[in-house]
């Protein structure tokens, strides 16, 4: 298998232009972020922040500065409301399991949207083993939550509602303020969690303004290092820990704090928020050029998710009909364009993205979907290069398909 990978990589040796658009699934950490992180491995703050020596106190200072900054960027009141976890999976697991276990005497019902990310979907499914029930609220064809169904679903048993601020696949910006209002009007005791990993740094987001109890943000989604995320927890709410170990600066997540990653996440956040308007204008302009270019070059496409102001500025999700996504991602990789497909092969069936299925896409439309996200680090030349190679790639795959499957 490793030999095969070497062979695959060899096929890429001639490529001179690389454009990475798979920012949904982690990606390039810019040099300015890496440079900020490096001293923390071996020059400064390399100690454990809870121990009584210089490198420990330095690390403690780093943690406090980072709690401070991330809490400010999230709009939190107190730095104590922030907990760093490794991935966003850990943060979402902590938010959901932790609040379910802490609230289990009050009720057993969890409500989520039908298009929550996998690290919310799978954890709520797992909670069923502990006697909790799950209700999924449907969305419309652009991914907006059905508010009436939400109102109907909330009952006395409901303890937790989790709806992402921005859907990671469709870029749909939910009206979270209204969603929270509906939930809290029914019962202010119900906890509200939002996965804000696709909002943070790309759409205005403020935990106090939205009145959420819990919110997840993640470093790699803003070109920080992977393996570091943060969970906001309102000061009035208490959660159960979901893992045990030595407690340091954060009571909800044991273990030695990973200061270089915390520094990297903080730096990436600074860069994202320092010139927020300019950054999102750039993402949006590149994204629009990409989408417009694809639609002017090719036909038989579906644009997935909303257009305009209710879509996050970085997200482009397009279904290429009569194209199977995996074949297209490989074809494009061989040309230096890296993106991912909405379907993944597991067992015999290609599994379409549950998000695309929830907005009513047919399976064959989902199978030909690709997700691309722009960043402020991409250039006009990058997008021009994608538009040069993508139509050819789609056309080649369509030639192989020929008349197969055409009704």
């Amino acid at each position: 298998m490793v030999e095969n990978v070497k062979g695959l990589l060899k096929l890429h040796e001639e490529i001179t232009h690389h454009v990475y658009l798979d920012n949904e699934n982690s990606g390039i950490v810019p040099q300015e972020v890496v440079d900020t992180m490096l001293p923390y491995f071996n020059k400064v703050a390399y100690g454990n922040p809870t121990l009584t020596h210089k490198p420990g106190w330095e690390a403690f200072e780093v943690m406090m500065n980072s709690f401070q900054k991330i809490s400010r960027y999230m709009g939190a009141k107190l730095l104590e409301e922030i907990t760093f976890t490794p991935g966003e999976s850990e943060a979402n697991n902590l938010a959901i399991m932790g609040s379910c276990f802490a609230q289990k005497e009050k009720g057993k019902k969890i409500i989520i949207s039908a298009i929550e990310p996998i690290n919310v979907l799978h954890v709520v499914e797992m909670m069923k083993n502990f006697g909790f029930t799950v209700t999924k609220i449907p969305v419309d064809q652009e991914g907006f939550l059905n508010m009436e169904k939400l109102k109907e679903a909330i009952d006395n048993e409901t303890i937790l509602v989790s709806v992402a601020t921005v859907n990671n696949e469709l870029g749909t910006i939910q009206n979270i303020k209204e969603v929270v209002q509906i939930v809290k009007d029914k019962n202010p005791q119900i906890l509200f969690h939002t996965d804000a990993t696709d909002a943070y740094g790309r759409v205005p987001f403020n935990v106090q303004d939205l009145n959420v109890d819990l919110a997840t943000v993640s470093s790699y989604k803003i070109q920080g290092p992977r393996g570091i995320s943060a969970l906001y927890l309102h000061e009035s709410v208490s959660l159960d820990r979901i893992i045990e170990g030595p407690i340091g600066t954060q009571k909800l997540w044991p273990g030695i704090e990973n200061t270089p990653l915390v520094v990297g996440f903080t730096k990436a956040s600074e860069l994202a928020f320092e010139n927020f308007e300019m950054n999102i204008a750039k993402m949006r302009s590149l994204r629009d050029k990409l989408v417009d270019g694809v639609f002017s070059e090719l036909s038989d496409l579906r644009f997935n998710g909303p257009r305009g102001e209710k879509r996050s500025p970085d997200n482009a999700n397009i279904s290429f009909l009569r194209v199977e996504g995996e074949a297209l991602t490989i074809e494009l990789s061989l040309k230096g364009v890296y993106l991912s497909s909405g379907s993944a092969c597991s067992r015999r069936l290609l599994q379409p993205s549950h998000v695309l299925v929830a907005i009513g896409r047919r399976f064959e439309e989902a199978h030909g979907s690709v997700l691309m996200k722009t960043t402020r680090y991409l250039t006009e030349e990058d997008i021009a290069y994608v538009l040069e190679v993508l139509p050819n790639a789609v056309n080649r795959i369509r030639r192989i398909v020929g008349s197969t499957g055409v009704e």
Binding site: G7, L11, A327, I330, I400, T404, G405
Partner: protein
């Protein structure tokens, strides 16, 4: 969705990039399709068969699917070229196809199965159309043919359910 790493071997990649015997055949003796776009896996085989000798003179394919699907379909057209229908039936199995292509990731075995299912379906159709049943051809569907049918049935149930605005519990 969960993702599985798919380190394809050079042979698969070569046939994905440069598929052999690709395209519709206008004067095909027999055409057979297997799979369904909803499964992300569908193959059409076109066979030109000499009616006297029952030798496959030419085989072509079209394929909607992943790199493994394209590569296995392509290699099947090469493997059966010049074989009689009987020899094709008895010699070409999904294991042989997988071996010939230098191995596939286990989640992609079904691509070889579907390719052989489409091929056997084509041969069966050839004899059905001529209202004869050679002794070497079992009346019962083979493993590969059954798998193709199963996949198609699954696809039909998949594409009829799941509409937006339908509340679904996990």
């Amino acid at each position: 969705m969960s993702r599985i790493p798919l380190p394809y071997n050079p042979k698969v990649m070569d046939l994905f990039r440069n598929p052999k015997n690709l395209g519709k055949m206008e004067d095909a003796t027999i055409v057979a399709v297997a799979g369904n776009p909803a499964c992300g896996d569908m193959i059409t085989f076109y066979l030109k068969v000499d009616e006297q000798t029952q030798i496959i003179e030419k085989a072509q394919f079209e394929s909607y699917g992943c790199a493994a699907n394209i590569a296995t379909s392509s290699i099947v057209t090469e493997m059966i070229n010049g074989l009689t229908l009987q020899a094709t039936w008895s010699n070409i199995t999904w294991q042989k196809v997988t071996e010939e292509i230098g191995g596939l990731p286990s989640v992609k075995f079904h691509c070889g199965v579907l390719a052989v299912g489409a091929l056997k379906r084509a041969i069966r159709k050839y004899f059905n159309d001529r209202s004869c049943a050679p002794v070497w051809m079992p009346k019962e569907n083979t493993f590969e043919e059954k798998q193709a049918l199963e996949e198609e049935e699954l696809a039909n149930t998949l594409s009829t359910r799941l509409k937006p605005e339908e509340e679904k519990s996990l």
